[in-house]
C-alpha cells in the first residue's frame, strides 16, 4: 500500500549526479508543502559525517541518499550508496505516516542503492552502525 505521492524529476537528476558523476556526498529529500511530491531539499559535497548528521532535523522526517565510504579489512576503500529513512520519534504522526507510505515510491525510482536504514534517533545513524 502506498500514499500515491509522486517523485520529481529533479530527484532522479540529483541521484544520477551523485551515483555516476560523484558530484555530491549526500542528497536530502523532503516532501513539498502540499504533500504531493518528493523534492530535493539539499545536495552537498561536505565529506564530514558529523556535519551531515547535524543537518537532520530533530522533529521532522527526511530521506537521505548518502555515498558512504568505508575501509574494508585488507581491501582498501569502498563506496556504498545508503538510503536512509529518517523518522524521529518526536516527529508529528501525520508526517511519519506520509513519509513511511511514500518511501517506496522514492526507493523504486532510485536504482543502485546498496543498504537501507530506518533511523529514529541519532544512535541508529551513527557512523559505526553504518559500517
Amino acid at each position: 500500500m502506498s500514499s500515491g505521492v509522486g517523485v520529481s524529476d529533479q530527484c532522479l537528476t540529483a541521484f544520477q549526479d551523485l551515483k555516476l558523476k560523484k558530484k555530491f556526498k549526500y542528497i536530502i529529500f523532503n516532501l513539498n508543502k502540499e504533500l504531493t511530491e518528493i523534492v530535493v531539499e539539499k545536495t552537498s559535497d561536505n565529506q564530514s559525517y558529523d556535519d551531515f548528521l547535524s543537518e537532520l532535523p530533530e522533529t521532522e522526517c527526511r530521506w537521505v541518499i548518502y555515498d558512504f565510504e568505508f575501509e574494508k579489512e585488507g581491501g582498501g576503500k569502498r563506496n556504498k550508496i545508503i538510503f536512509l529513512s529518517w523518522s524521529p520519534d518526536d516527529a508529528k504522526i501525520k508526517q511519519k505516516m506520509v513519509f513511511a507510505s511514500s518511501r517506496d515510491a522514492l526507493k523504486r525510482s532510485l536504482t543502485g542503492v546498496a543498504v537501507e536504514i530506518q533511523g529514529t534517533d541519532f544512535s541508529e545513524v551513527a557512523y559505526e552502525s553504518g559500517a
Binding site: M1, S87, M97, F99, R103, E124
Partner: protein, 435 residues
C-alpha cells in the same frame, strides 16, 4: 455528488474491533464515535410484528428475521432490559455475523456523528487474517446499503506501522480477543510471517479464575454487575460485602447478558490492577511490588498483590502444569514472535527487530514494553521497541493510521469509486486493496 478526486475528500474511517467500533473523520487525531461492538437484542418471535420502542434502532427488512429490537451504543447492552440477549459479531478478530454490522455503523455515523454515508468516501480497516469473502462482503455493504461514493479497505498491521513512521516493522497487536504479530516490509504484509492466537481470551479466563476462586486469605469474589445490585454498604478491605440483590431483575436476566456483564467486571479489574513484571517471573519480586486496591460493584474490596502479576505473566509464559493439562494453549507473545521471525529471511529479521511496534489495548499492561524488551534483547541485541506513550495512539493506532492515510490528497487514486464497483463488482476489491 462528492468529487472524491479532489484534495478535500472529507473521508470517514471505520475501524471495527472485538471490543469497540471506532468511527471518525479522516485527518482527526482520535475517533469521534467509539461504541461497544457488543449489542443487546430481543430475538424476534417467529412471524411476529416488529415493535419499535424508545431508543430502538430502525431495523431494515433484512434484519427483521433475527432481531425484534436491537440496542446499540452507550445505552445498549449496558442498560438492563428484561429478556435482553447480548451478541457480538466479531469472533477471533473477524466479522462472523454481518446482520448487526449495518445497525452498528449506522448508529455511529448517523446517531453520533450525524453524517450521511452517501456523501463521504469510507475507509474500513481489516485484520491481516481477514478472508477475501469477508472484505468483499464489507465492500458490498458499503456500496449497496450505505451508498458510499468511494471505499477502501486497509490492513491494520500496515496502518500501525505507517502511523509509527515505519515502512518496515514487526507489528505486535494485542486486542480484546486476539494477539497477533505481523511482519510489514516496505508497506506490505509478509503473509507467511503472520502469526496470531486467541491469547487475550486465556488471560481473561485466568483472571476470572483467580477472582472467583477462594484463597487462604480471601473468599471467592461474586462478579455481580451493578445493574443487579439494589444497594450496598461500605465495608473494610477483605470483609464480606453487604449488599442487596435486585430480586425483581434476576428472573428476567438472560444467560448471554450475564456472561457479558461478568466479562466486563473481569476486564475492568484486569485493566485497573494487572501488570507485568519487567524482568521475568520471580515470586519474591512479585510479592514485594506495591499492592493495588480495587472495589467490585458488590462493595467487596481488597488489595491485590501477587495476583495482579500472575495475570500479566500469562502473556509471556504458561505454567508447566497448564501446558501439561492442555496441549492446545494459545501461543504466548514470545512464541508468536519466534514463529513470525522463523518465516522471514534472516537478513529481514534484524530490520524487523529494530522496528517493533506495539499497538492495541492489550499492550497497555503496566510493564509490558519493558518486559518485552528484556525478553527480546536476549536473542536480538539490537531490538528497538516503539510504544506510543499516549494510550489513544496505542488503543486506536489502526484507526489513526487510516485517518491519516485517507486524509492525504494523493490517496484518492486508490479509492474504489461507486462507478468502478458497479462496473467490475467484487473482484476489484482484491485488485485495488493490496497490502
Amino acid at each position: 455528488m462528492v468529487n472524491y478526486g479532489g484534495d478535500e475528500v472529507s473521508a470517514l474511517v471505520v475501524d471495527i474491533g472485538a471490543s469497540s467500533v471506532r468511527t471518525g473523520y479522516a485527518g482527526d487525531d482520535c475517533p469521534k464515535a467509539i461504541i461497544p461492538t457488543s449489542y443487546g437484542y430481543h430475538p424476534a418471535p417467529p412471524d411476529a410484528d416488529v415493535t419499535m420502542g424508545d431508543g430502538v434502532e430502525n431495523i431494515d427488512p433484512v434484519n427483521k428475521s433475527k432481531f425484534a429490537n436491537i440496542y446499540i451504543g452507550q445505552s445498549g447492552p449496558s442498560i438492563w432490559r428484561e429478556g435482553m440477549e447480548v451478541g457480538n459479531p466479531v469472533v477471533e478478530g473477524l466479522i462472523q455475523d454481518f446482520n448487526p454490522i449495518k445497525p452498528l455503523i449506522d448508529h455511529a455515523l448517523d446517531k453520533i456523528m450525524r453524517v450521511h454515508s452517501s456523501e463521504h468516501p469510507i475507509l474500513v480497516t481489516e485484520p491481516t487474517w481477514n478472508t477475501p469473502a469477508n472484505r468483499e462482503r464489507m465492500a458490498e455493504i458499503m456500496f449497496e446499503e450505505f451508498n458510499v461514493p468511494a471505499f477502501y479497505i486497509a490492513n491494520t498491521g500496515v496502518l500501525n506501522a505507517f502511523a509509527a513512521g515505519k515502512g518496515s516493522a514487526l507489528v505486535i497487536d494485542v486486542g480484546q480477543s486476539m494477539a497477533s504479530v505481523t511482519p510489514v516490509v516496505d508497506g506490505f504484509v509478509l503473509r507467511k510471517g503472520l502469526s496470531h492466537s486467541p491469547l487475550p481470551k486465556l488471560i481473561h479466563a485466568h483472571a476470572r479464575h483467580i477472582l472467583i476462586s477462594p484463597t487462604p486469605h480471601r473468599r471467592g469474589i461474586e462478579l455481580l454487575p451493578h445493574q443487579l445490585i439494589a444497594n450496598k454498604t461500605l465495608v473494610d478491605a477483605g470483609a464480606p460485602p453487604k449488599f442487596t440483590i435486585r430480586q425483581d431483575r434476576i428472573a428476567g436476566t438472560t444467560e448471554s447478558w450475564r456472561i457479558w456483564a461478568e466479562t466486563r467486571e473481569v476486564d475492568e479489574w484486569v485493566q485497573s490492577v494487572a501488570g507485568v513484571l519487567d524482568q521475568g517471573w520471580n515470586d519474591t519480586v512479585a510479592a514485594q511490588r506495591t499492592t493495588r486496591q480495587y472495589e467490585f460493584p458488590t462493595g467487596y474490596n481488597n488489595y491485590f498483590g501477587i495476583e495482579r502479576f500472575q495475570v500479566g505473566e500469562q502473556l509471556f509464559t504458561h505454567s508447566p502444569q497448564l501446558v501439561a493439562s492442555n496441549p492446545n494453549l494459545p501461543k504466548t507473545i514470545p512464541q508468536l514472535i519466534t514463529e513470525a521471525l522463523r518465516a522471514c529471511d534472516p537478513e529481514l529479521r534484524q530490520v524487523l527487530m529494530g522496528n517493533v511496534v506495539l499497538t492495541g489495548g492489550g499492550t497497555l499492561f503496566s510493564g509490558f514494553a519493558d518486559r518485552l524488551t528484556a525478553e527480546l534483547t536476549r536473542s536480538f541485541p539490537h531490538t528497538k521497541i516503539h510504544a506510543p506513550g499516549n494510550p489513544v495512539e496505542r488503543r486506536y493506532g489502526g484507526w489513526l493510521g487510516g485517518s491519516i492515510l485517507a486524509s492525504l490528497g494523493t490517496f484518492h487514486q486508490l479509492w474504489i469509486s461507486k462507478e468502478e464497483w458497479q462496473e467490475h463488482g467484487k473482484p476489484i476489491v482484491g485488485q485495488r486493496c493490496i497490502h
